[in-house]
Symmetry: D2
Subunit: 104 residues, 4 copies
């Protein structure tokens, strides 16, 4: 669960540094990919990774996801549930149980 | 704000399809990078992208971030605020205001 | 143009360090994404980047691409021209001239 | 080995479609990350992937790497060997043999 207070803390952090000016949707999309790769780097040569490092890198990905949601004025619950509904129709339970079926 | 109900809906979705077996931390880290790139693809040739498509692709990134947090037993607020504190020390307001300083 | 001598230098570099043991196709695919994101990071907040840094990061991406081609026993010219032929059929000149049409 | 003829075929392909106008360094860096993720997707849930699909996706990554080298006026052999020299100094054989040491 992500609280409003956490969202506010992230927003204030950017405001204090006057970083919102860099937070165009396009720059944030790049940033999410960049941070996602830093997370992936922890698993580059092994399936095991340090728990604390995974936490920090996942937090960076989420940080930019939340920033993108803010500049696009998205509600996170709304977009998650709306996309889940589409994915549910694409992958009905009876056809997909236990088989690999990536979300696309 | 992300509600517990949304988290539960995502978990049930994976359980119904018996997909948790594929959700190793390593596979989920790959999945986050893959979905992040699909989001980036919307901005590949232009800084503008369709709002609904951005919502859907961002939701996919978040979906796998939440799945990784679940298998690692992370609390999202905890990891976000803990990392924010480290970033705050690394980039003090007085040194960074208005200058580009990527989170690393 | 990439010379055989360059390929040999890259191979010897890995052999000297006994790093080929880590070079599974899956690990190299992760490595290519990770290095691609380091290249992207140079353009995270701006469309301009330092020429020398772009050269170094692009070299890292190519390094792992060449390593993947080696372990898969691909000829680079073959796979480039074979894929180009498929893309040519997908995007005929008369339909695509000057319009954005990403390779997929 | 990559031949000049292959490079020329890729260049002509873009010219015929008037696609060079989209090939800014920044757009090509995004494109490399996007294609790298499509390659990674083949290994999303398994360490095995279809050989022909790996060839096609690796070709797409290389295609954009070569396009970036063209617009930056890089010689591929030069940048590969120059970066290899730096990496060689960073990871001397005696310190790294058989130990994981990612290129950074």
């Amino acid at each position: 669960m992500v609280n409003q207070r956490t969202f506010d803390a992230l927003r204030v952090f950017a405001e204090e540094r006057k970083w919102q000016q860099f937070h165009s949707p396009s720059n944030l999309a790049k940033s999410i990919s960049i941070e996602a790769a830093e997370l992936l780097e922890l698993f580059q040569w092994s399936d095991d990774a340090d728990r604390g490092e995974v936490a920090d890198e996942l937090a960076d990905v989420l940080h930019y996801c939340i920033a993108l949601a803010r500049v696009m004025d998205f509600d996170l619950d709304d977009i998650l549930l709306s996309k889940l509904e589409k994915t549910r129709l694409k992958y009905p339970v009876e056809h997909t149980r236990g088989r690999i079926a990536p979300i696309e």
